[in-house]
């Protein structure tokens, strides 16, 4: 990193003098910058790459030699994946089951905030009512509340319900096994809403005013405008938030740990992996394969939809 510093902006150094030497020097500098940036990018990838290579090596190999010896002595096996996904012994991981949990947790946890937040964002942007700006500021401000502030009472809300002055407003949810997914969906939806409303409001409020007014003059009601005009126009924003939320939920540990419990009926991959890293920290053949199982889905989503993600990121952070 430090060696890279002098090359900053070096490409511009020789501008002004169009001598041959100057041009050569400029090209060399650009080359140096390119080279260094590629080297750093490769260095950045090495840890992940090492894990990936290791996951295909036999157990005794992983435990006795470094993954770089793979290239001098290649031994390849899929056993680790077989074992970690479908193994029947309790120590093997049984990640296939947790993989399904991760899916079952993630899909609704993306859909609900997406729908609710786009409705709310539309109302905050295009429906006139008293206190609109204050409401928006309030929702916006909720982004800064750490979700730690909500954990204890929300768990209590699920387990004992709400009772005010002896009157039960809502009974306990009393969920067992896979029904606990509902708790996780609920928690993730609540925690996602402030950011979702903020991000989608950024997009929706920038739609052309003429378009909205024309639709109103034509007699379209708000629900109709929302469905037929706004939704199709904000698809990129929906995609951006969808990816963002997908990665967040799939990769989340804290919310799952508290609201899903640790069993194979509900816990997602992250919970199981964290547990394996704690109790079986030296079973690298399982940890490497397991980690890769959990990484592969977000990686695919991310790589194929990176454009939307970056756009959403920039809209969410810079324009705010």
């Amino acid at each position: 990193m430090t060696t890279a510093t002098p090359t900053v902006g070096a490409g511009t150094q020789a501008v002004g003098k169009t001598t041959t030497a100057g041009r050569v020097r400029k090209r060399l500098n650009t080359r140096a910058a390119t080279l260094i940036s590629i080297v750093i990018a490769l260095l950045w990838t090495i840890p992940t790459f090492g894990l990936f290579v290791s996951s295909f090596r036999p157990e005794n190999q992983i435990k006795s030699t470094g993954w770089w010896t793979f290239f001098s002595d290649p031994q390849f096996t899929l056993e680790n994946y077989q074992e970690v996904l479908f193994g029947s012994s309790s120590s093997s991981g049984q990640l296939a089951s947790y993989f399904i949990n991760s899916l079952a947790i993630t899909i609704p946890s993306v859909l609900f905030p997406l729908a609710f937040a786009s409705l709310a964002a539309y109302a905050l942007a295009w429906i006139n009512f008293r206190g609109r700006d204050w409401l928006y500021i309030a929702i916006f401000a909720m982004q800064i509340v750490p979700l730690q502030m909500a954990l204890v009472p929300l768990l209590k809300f699920f387990s004992t319900g709400v009772t005010v002055g002896g009157i039960t407003l809502m009974p306990a949810w009393d969920l067992v096994d896979e029904q606990k997914f509902a708790q996780v969906w609920f928690a993730h939806t609540c925690f996602a809403l402030p950011f979702a409303v903020f991000l989608l409001h950024n997009f929706i409020s920038q739609l052309p005013k003429d378009l909205m007014e024309a639709a109103r003059v034509d007699g379209a009601t708000h629900p109709k405008i929302f469905r037929t005009i706004v939704l199709p126009l904000i698809t990129p924003a929906l995609a951006a938030f969808g990816i963002f939320q997908f990665l967040w939920v799939w990769n989340d540990l804290l919310v799952a740990l508290i609201f899903a419990g640790g069993g194979d009926e509900t816990a997602p991959l992250t919970v199981r992996l964290a547990e394996m890293a704690g109790t079986r920290g030296n079973e690298w053949q399982r940890l490497t394969a397991g980690a890769f199982v959990s990484i592969v889905v977000p990686l695919i989503v991310f790589l194929s939809l990176q454009r939307y993600f970056v756009r959403g990121l920039l809209a969410g952070s810079v324009k705010g």
């Binding site: 002004g16 470094g66 429906i127 800064i144 708000h222 540990l253 964290a274 959990s294 990484i295 790589l303």
Partner: protein, 349 residues
């Protein structure tokens, strides 16, 4: 080697219920919004007709029902935010002044405990180290890289590689790095990259994660590894947004690259820079997964979020856990105020 798909069936069923609930709730809401207004319209039409027929004065045009629409559009969000965020946050604040079972008021005792218990003071110091280092290092690296890679060949690929860890869970990243830090006794062949490098340079292999305070810094490396990509992408976009004529004018004036960086680039991307630092600071304050996966908070590496989880959900100390959560919230506030002040200056200036 067996995997019973039948056992997994209830999960898919539950997922099905969830999706059904989604369709019913959202579809129902949209339908309601469609049906109710047209019902009102029809009723008014009927009123007008009867009024006209009987020769009575026409009823006044009802007020616009904008507010009603807004209420329905906002209803799910407001309801969920109240139940899931506002009410719990208020309750947590109250709990932080109560004892472990939330039965009796104890005043500021939990906060006093936080600053007097040695292990918790250690936690606070660790958190401070994280918050000071992660934004600083990740942002500087992201900025350097963004400047360096700008207009270089293979820019897109190089940026993607740096950005990639953003997609990896903190848990996955921690396992990746635990493997880098892995330790084998002296004399054995090392399997961890870091120890291998140390050994090949003639050093002794070390149990990196057991060695305080070095281990906290090694965990910070994981966070920087993940977040530098975020900083790089945002700052790179900001650099590309600098108007070309400004850069060109500066070049014609013959400024050096160094001056160019400090006098043109830095002032132009200052807003983006602040956003990155603020976002990273807040994310770092709440860091939990890395510490929990890599060391479980042992060996003096715990941070506030991890300690809060332990107190509230493992030791049943609701009061102390809540106090830590509130303290976390208090730490976020000055950062946010700083950002708001900056945004305001920007608008005025």
């Amino acid at each position: 080697m067996e995997f019973d798909w039948l056992e997994e069936q209830p999960k898919f069923l539950m997922l099905g219920y969830g999706l059904l609930a989604f369709v019913v709730v959202v579809g129902g809401l949209l339908l309601l919004l469609d049906v109710v207004p047209s019902w009102f319209a029809r009723r008014r039409e009927a009123q007008l007709v009867t009024a006209a027929a009987s020769g009575a004065p026409l009823p006044r045009r009802p007020k616009q029902r904008e507010g009603l629409f807004a209420l329905f559009f906002l209803l799910p969000t407001l309801l969920l935010l109240t139940i899931g965020l506002v009410a719990p946050a208020i309750r947590t604040t109250l709990l932080s002044f109560m004892d472990s079972g939330s039965d009796e008021w104890v005043g500021l005792r939990n906060y006093g405990w936080m600053f007097s218990e040695d292990s918790i003071v250690r936690v606070l110091i660790n958190t401070l180290t994280w918050v000071l280092l992660v934004p600083l290092v990740a942002t500087s690296f992201g900025l350097l890289y963004a400047v360096m890679v700008d207009k270089a060949r293979f820019e897109a690929i190089a940026k993607s590689l740096i950005f990639l860890p953003m997609a990896i869970s903190f848990v996955g990243a921690s396992i990746i790095w635990k493997f880098v830090y892995a330790f084998r006794g002296d004399g054995q062949e090392q399997i961890g990259l870091l120890n291998q490098i140390v050994v090949s340079l003639g050093g002794e292999p070390k149990q990196w994660l057991l060695d305080s305070p070095l281990n906290t810094f090694l965990l910070i490396v994981i966070m920087v590894w993940i977040q530098a990509g975020f900083a790089m992408v945002v700052l790179s976009a900001a650099i590309k947004a600098i108007p070309a004529d400004i850069v060109e004018a500066a070049r014609l004036d013959g400024v050096s690259p160094w001056q160019m960086f400090w006098q043109i680039t830095m002032p132009s991307i200052r807003p983006a820079l602040i956003v990155v630092v603020v976002t990273l600071s807040i994310a770092t304050l709440k860091v939990f997964d890395i510490v929990r996966t890599a060391t479980n908070g042992n060996y003096d590496t715990s941070v506030i979020a991890n300690e809060m989880y332990n107190q509230a959900f493992r030791y049943g100390e609701n009061g102390q856990g809540s106090a830590l959560a509130v303290f976390l919230f208090i730490l976020v506030i000055p950062i946010v105020i700083y950002q708001i002040r900056n945004l305001r200056q920007q608008r005025e200036g």
